[in-house]
Symmetry: C2
Subunit: 335 residues, 2 copies
């Protein structure tokens, strides 16, 4: 099977820092190569891959202000489309623009919808609904106006996470410091449960941090460590008694939730978005409604087995599982 992976070019693939869509495109590409597939990656020229790399833009437009995004996006996409005949399938990670070329090629195209940046982009997905196959990254992230061929959860590289059977006695908030993610709620939960809370993440909302988070930081029971790299992430997630995830938005997929469970750490999350798909309630964590229920859940945390969390994440959110799921979808489409 000859597979083309069409990555975005906002960042290189894989990204050096931020770039979640490029990261998923990289994970799929390298996972397919490991399976012995013939893969061609369309990405920036400075991307790194074991697949065959094809590019028109040497660098990423988010890293090079001399590049006009619209110009290089359409050059990048059209280059891939003009070579469509060489492939059995094109797997698109580049949002809606490639769809508008798909009526002019014969190769089937699969599009992973990594999220809807705005309701305004739905008309493109609607127009190409029949011609294209869409994959959602969780069942909760589906638009009722579109047809989907499958949900494929984002897969984690398990070599970066260590199972830890013997945690320390702290709770963890891990993610962007932003009202959406519930940093303030996590502090209230920890205080009411009488537990230490470690906070790690990028400050995305400076005003929120100053007003709702910083006043509680005392380096004793409420500790802020800044952003964490992969090693510290592994340690923080694995040593936590539980991850707190009291979100106030319908998160399409919570990567840190899956990562925590892979380390053996159960998750206490507000029950919305993709959370009921990620967490097996009463087994790998608790789905709760509010701060009070979260505090109660912490008192019951010892009833959960960390090994169950680990196994659940391995089975459902590993890179290998993601790649196998996509291969199934490719096979189905080529038939």
């Amino acid at each position: 099977m000859k597979i083309a992976i069409l990555a975005p070019i906002a960042w290189r693939t894989p990204p050096l820092k931020y770039g979640p869509w490029e990261q998923v495109a990289a994970n799929i590409t390298e996972g397919l190569i490991k399976k012995g597939m013939k893969v061609t990656l369309f990405a920036t020229g400075n991307s790194q891959t074991k697949a065959e790399l094809r590019y028109i833009s040497k660098t990423a437009y988010a890293e090079d202000p001399s590049l006009d995004p619209k110009v290089w996006e359409c050059l990048h996409i059209s280059m891939a489309m003009e070579q469509a005949k060489e492939f059995d399938i094109i797997h698109n990670h580049f949002d809606f623009l490639p769809l508008t070329y798909s009526g002019l090629i014969k190769t089937p195209m699969l599009t992973t919808i990594h999220g809807f940046s705005s309701e305004k982009i739905i008309p493109v997905y609607k127009k190409y609904n029949k011609k294209n196959a869409y994959v959602s990254i969780s069942n909760s992230d589906r638009s009722p106006e579109l047809d989907y061929i499958a949900t494929v959860y984002n897969g984690i590289d398990k070599s970066q996470f260590t199972y830890n059977a013997n945690p320390k006695n702290y709770l963890l908030f891990f993610g962007r410091i932003h009202p959406d993610k519930g940093t303030w709620e996590s502090i209230q939960i920890a205080k009411q449960a009488g537990k230490k809370l470690i906070i790690s993440g990028l400050i995305q909302d400076e005003n929120y941090f100053e007003k709702k988070v910083k006043p509680f930081i005392n380096d004793e029971d409420i500790v802020y460590l800044g952003n964490s790299g992969p090693k510290q992430r592994d340690k923080l997630l694995g040593e936590a008694l539980a991850l707190l995830h009291p979100i106030s938005f319908d998160e399409p997929f919570g990567l840190s939730v899956a990562e925590a469970m892979l380390c053996g750490t159960p998750v206490i999350a507000f029950n919305r978005g993709s959370m009921p798909e990620l967490i097996k309630h009463g087994n790998t964590g608790f789905l709760v409604k509010n701060i009070e229920e979260a505090v109660e859940a912490i008192n019951n945390i010892s009833s959960l087995k960390r090994e169950d969390c680990h196994q659940w994440a391995l089975q459902n959110f590993s890179l290998e599982r993601m790649v196998d799921d996509y291969l199934d979808v490719y096979q189905h489409l080529i038939k």
Copy 2:
């Protein structure tokens, strides 16, 4: 010959007010229909035409903030491309994005480059240089990096302009109030020549108007009339002794220069951009280097025949001439 005209959708076609590219697309469409051609116009749904109108966006995105420009641009273009087989030729007025679909269709595409919004867009034109045929709107507006099949000057609807053999005794500045257009220079020329100057145009640069134009306005020898509609434009251009056009940029095509000559009014212009193509020096106006030379030219203005100006504009800048020129190019491409 089955012709598709691909208009932009920033504005309806023809535009109600501003919208120069949509205006040219409308002029060509209606001119071709008059010649008995079969024309399909791809434009907004509220456009008005005697051709067959096809659309996906009912309204123009510059007039409707609920429409995302990128979304509706690519939907509009891909709709036309998916119907390419029905046409002998596609004439693109929509800048660079349609080029990136042209490698996927068999119908020849002609692109009028109405101007380069930025150097950053040239890579797209370069990539599709061989596959596509480009038309420049003046020889001076050509990029040395591209190949062109022809220059076709924008054509004027002559029913909107009246030849006037007996002008009044004033000079005219007609166009955007902006340093590019030389409003301040026009005032200096008029003052030094001892002539009245009428200024008409939209204030595009408010700061420039306040500092360099307004202090001279006295409602006697320097008069500002604001923006003019078609009727006042016809009267102002026709009754002027000469049009002043002391530009400080390489203007790709000066519409008011052609319109003034059509009314019989000679033009005194700084010699740059498309001016040497528009003005027949010493016959329909004077090409000058600076304010001093412009003043000298005014003293010689009676040596020019207004009938010559009129005939020159009729022959070179009429709508009929533009349509005939484009038909020649279409024929050449279809062969």
